[in-house]
Assembly symmetry: C2
Homo-oligomer: 323 residues x 2
């Protein structure tokens, strides 16, 4: 077996910025640089700018012969085809299929793999984070949306078409009261547990009670998920009720996920988790109350240790080691 | 690599009968024999009887040196440990952990693997049935309970503890109206789509309408799932409404399963499927109506072709080929 080269390139391709980092086998980021994702009109222009941005980083670590591969985490990315498909938030990819892996690969002369952001996060946890040594776990990302990366038997679940792990879109409320979701359906987990979902829960709960709350210091329509975290941290009762509601949704959803893949751990990632036990306790309690008996008190509920460590770049870089 | 021996032993261990069969690599059952599962008070007695039953079959195909391995499909079976754990319907295993794989292996001198019935069915479909050549699919068994075997990337999903694939116990109705399930919780898929679930739906629908129906020929409490199939086959409107309700539950559940593992096909197995399109059409329609857009009209909905072919023995036997 040929031995691995010492570095990989990790790329976190987001709607605003695209960050390139050189990472070693221990998960240390050696150097990094970024470009503005939305500044470019076409995929060609974006890739050219990306190549110009990353080349000096590659030179810094000794040239392309020191690079094992490159991994990109991006919205609407398809692992199987190496393409970005109809990504609503990317100007140069919103109405077509962009063969991004091949475009970077041919210019840089390294192997390039692509996956979606949540899958990249799961790879990062497995190589460098809370899932080291685990073979079965689920990473749930709580951000603008709710995403997931599912690892079974040591491998990311891609499914038949590369789109497995859309756990933000399991249905939590099938009644006519299900909340509208960005996907066009109603009752999805994401409609309750994304940042906007939590803000909406806040407005709903504030409207149905006249209990005092720090959250009343702002006009209701300006409340954000972060305000709820801050208020909950100060012991605000209404804010904690919002977290209990959100935690129950997540715990109940995880109970269904356990029936599916029986993971060793659920690892949470994203702004909401910074509230720590205030959100994690309700999730875990609700899970153990509602899960099938054989799964009770077995799964770990963890917060990602990578959140403040360029996790998205690290996660994507993990893909760079794949043959 | 050592070449495989020509035969495996498949064992379908059910609550009433345990069937042993010798199977070749093409899935032909060479010979079979059975014992009464419940006739034995202890696991030792059961295994001794099983060994006596299977030995003549082994001799018939040329002795144990012709046998690659033995696979057992059984309730509450754990693949990882080779044990049956607290199986409510097995006298000799209902309050303990029985190391069944090891017990058979030491007496027969062959490698023995154990898995639950639905997982065995999934292996059978992959080797001999509707899932030949597929790497991502889900088998859903509709019987006394609702079970599932999930295959991802060509491998059965076992999860951290061996209990993955309990898809009969995802929650379809989280409201206080959720039906009680045998597992002690409410609203499980199994409470609606098992044989008893379908019979209950029949009683509920008959009670809320005075439309004529063939199902009224029997006292309501005696209606079985098979009566619904027969009446639906004769064009009975109420029976078809029952199938539509059941199909909607299954289709909606499959939409959530697609968000999880994005399978190429859902393969249904069990008495209810014998109704063919009467049940399969409502499942597929409801799935395509409710699934996330990226999955629409992609998955196949199939009825197992193995149902009348000793599928349980064939499925279990597939495990006998595993190294």
């Amino acid at each position: 077996m040929e031995s691995l080269k010492p570095y990989v390139i990790g790329v976190d391709l987001g709607g605003t910025n695209t960050v390139f980092g050189i990472v070693d086998a221990e998960g240390n980021m050696i150097c990094e640089a970024s470009i503005k994702t939305g500044k470019y009109k076409t995929a060609e222009e974006f890739v050219n700018a990306g190549v110009e941005c990353v080349k000096p980083l590659i030179e810094k670590v000794g040239g392309v012969e020191k690079i094992e591969g490159m991994g990109i985490g991006a919205p609407n990315a398809n692992y199987y085809t190496g393409t970005i498909e109809f990504a609503p938030n990317l100007v140069w990819a919103h109405d077509g299929v962009v063969p991004l892996a091949e475009m970077f690969s041919s210019q840089l002369g390294v192997r390039v793999k692509l996956t979606n952001d949540a899958n990249a996060a799961a790879l990062g946890e497995m190589m460098y984070g809370a899932a080291k040594g685990m073979k079965d776990f689920i990473v749930i990302t709580l951000g603008t949306g709710v995403g997931a990366g599912v690892v079974c038997n040591g491998k990311l679940l891609y499914g038949h078409d590369g789109f497995a792990g859309e756990l933000g879109h399991v249905i939590m409320d099938r009644s006519e009261k299900g909340r509208p979701c960005g996907c066009g359906r109603t009752g999805c987990l994401e409609a309750y547990c994304s940042a906007t979902g939590v803000a909406r829960t806040a407005r709903e709960i504030l409207a149905t009670t006249d209990r005092p709350s720090l959250l009343r210091d702002k006009p209701a329509e300006e409340i954000e998920s972060l305000d709820v975290s801050i208020a909950a941290g100060k012991g605000d009762e209404v804010a904690n009720e919002i977290f209990k509601f959100t935690g129950k949704m997540l715990g109940d959803a995880c109970a269904d996920f356990a029936a599916f893949s029986s993971p060793e751990a659920f690892i949470f990632f994203g702004g909401l988790c910074k509230a720590g036990d205030l959100i994690m306790k309700p999730i875990e309690e609700s899970y153990n109350n509602s899960v099938l008996k054989i799964f009770k008190n077995k799964a770990k509920f963890l917060v990602s240790p990578l959140m403040d460590k360029n996790a998205a770049v690290l996660g994507a870089s993990a893909l760079g080691w794949e043959k």
